[in-house]
């Protein structure tokens, strides 16, 4: 808890967590190279929200920007966590699917496009029900198709984190970058408390929650690849490095047996907190 902080660096940094989705995308791409696709003035907002008396956002909470990373063509897809919890509806999800599929098509035609996903999402948008669920499945398929050609790099910065079906999408990515503020999990703590009772999980206990599903823990057990500071420059650098190190990736989702064996070997009754799990799980030799 009392880790030494480089104060000068801490004060000089530009928080990535505090940026909007549009600002985040710009922070990742080479300066001056970004061009937004299907932006707010195209007015592709959700028709379903208005029917339910909810104010829509004109980009439906997803910002897609084409540009360059280290001079190479790239597409950054950023989810706006402040709008409806970054939830995935029909339009929001379809924008992600189209961007990923266009990147795949580029690769099939011999043109490289580097894909970056900036997750900030509670998962499916309940107001759009099956349309949201279906589009998340499409996002997952699109990631699998694209990662055969190029590393699909993802960032979870916080504070929303990445939950539900979109946590599975994050798990499919080739490289997952997280901050200490990030959270990654299937069910959110509030949902677990509501469904399984407070003895299972107390959602208000922030230290416990972050010790279980926080970025530091996820990186320590090998479910995320890079733990970075909440610093826009650091994050952009780590994304660049992920594309530069063109080493072949064995995706976590291609190591099903390894993870099943690990799960089977752990006595869950002994896991009282994140630190115990780290000890039992090891450092994540999977990667």
């Amino acid at each position: 808890m009392n880790a030494e902080i480089d104060l000068q660096r801490f004060l000089a940094r530009r928080s990535f967590v505090e940026l909007t989705a549009r600002e985040r995308a710009l922070a990742i791409l080479d300066a001056g190279s970004a061009r937004e696709l299907v932006g707010p003035f195209d007015r592709q907002h959700s028709v379903w929200l208005e029917m339910q008396g909810i104010v829509p956002q004109e980009d439906d909470g997803v910002v897609v920007m084409h540009g360059r990373i280290d001079g190479e063509p790239a597409v950054v897809i950023a989810i706006e966590g402040a709008f409806q919890g970054g939830s995935m509806g029909e339009v929001a999800g379809q924008k992600i699917v189209c961007a990923l599929e266009l990147a795949t098509r580029d690769h099939e035609r011999g043109r490289s496009t580097r894909p970056v996903l900036l997750f900030e999402t509670g998962g499916v948008r309940l107001q759009e029900a099956n349309l949201g669920l279906a589009v998340i499945a499409e996002i997952q398929s699109a990631i699998i198709a694209l990662r055969r050609h190029v590393p699909v790099v993802a960032v979870i910065a916080g504070l929303v984190g990445c939950f539900g079906g979109m946590s599975l999408a994050a798990a499919l990515c080739s490289r997952l970058i997280v901050t200490r503020q990030a959270r990654l999990g299937m069910n959110g703590p509030e949902v677990i408390e509501q469904e399984a009772g407070i003895q299972e999980m107390e959602a208000a206990d922030k230290r416990l929650i972050w010790s279980l599903i926080g970025g530091e823990q996820r990186a320590a057990v090998g479910l995320a690849d890079d733990l970075v500071e909440d610093d826009a420059d650091d994050i952009a650098r780590t994304v660049r490095a992920a594309f530069r190190e063109a080493k072949p990736v064995t995706h976590r989702t291609e190591q099903v047996d390894l993870f099943l064996d690990r799960l089977a070997a752990i006595d869950t009754d002994r896991v009282k907190d994140g630190a115990t799990l780290r000890g039992l799980w090891g450092k994540g030799e999977a990667k």
Binding site: F41, E50, V55, E58, E80, A82
Partner: protein, 97 residues
Amino acid sequence: MEVFDFTYPGDTVIDGRVHVGVVGSGDLEILLEPSPDDKTHVRIRTSVEGYGAVWQSVLDRFFSRYHGKVAIEINDFGATPGMVSLRLQQAVEENGK
């Protein structure tokens, strides 16, 4: 959700378009672009109902000082009048850059 439309006389032609803000708690997004006709148009979708008179006051005040012929679309998620004024100011400033 409630929808309001306001019209003001405009006298300065502007070009370019600007997007500011987020439809997040206590915030709003503003889409500002040139007006299709000779007037200034404001369309508001707001999550908070019953505040038509407050919107009227905030906009009356703003357009007593700004006379661009603009079409403005606002998607509001419970922004305070102060926040609305600041976002409007930000939108016209960025348009002037």
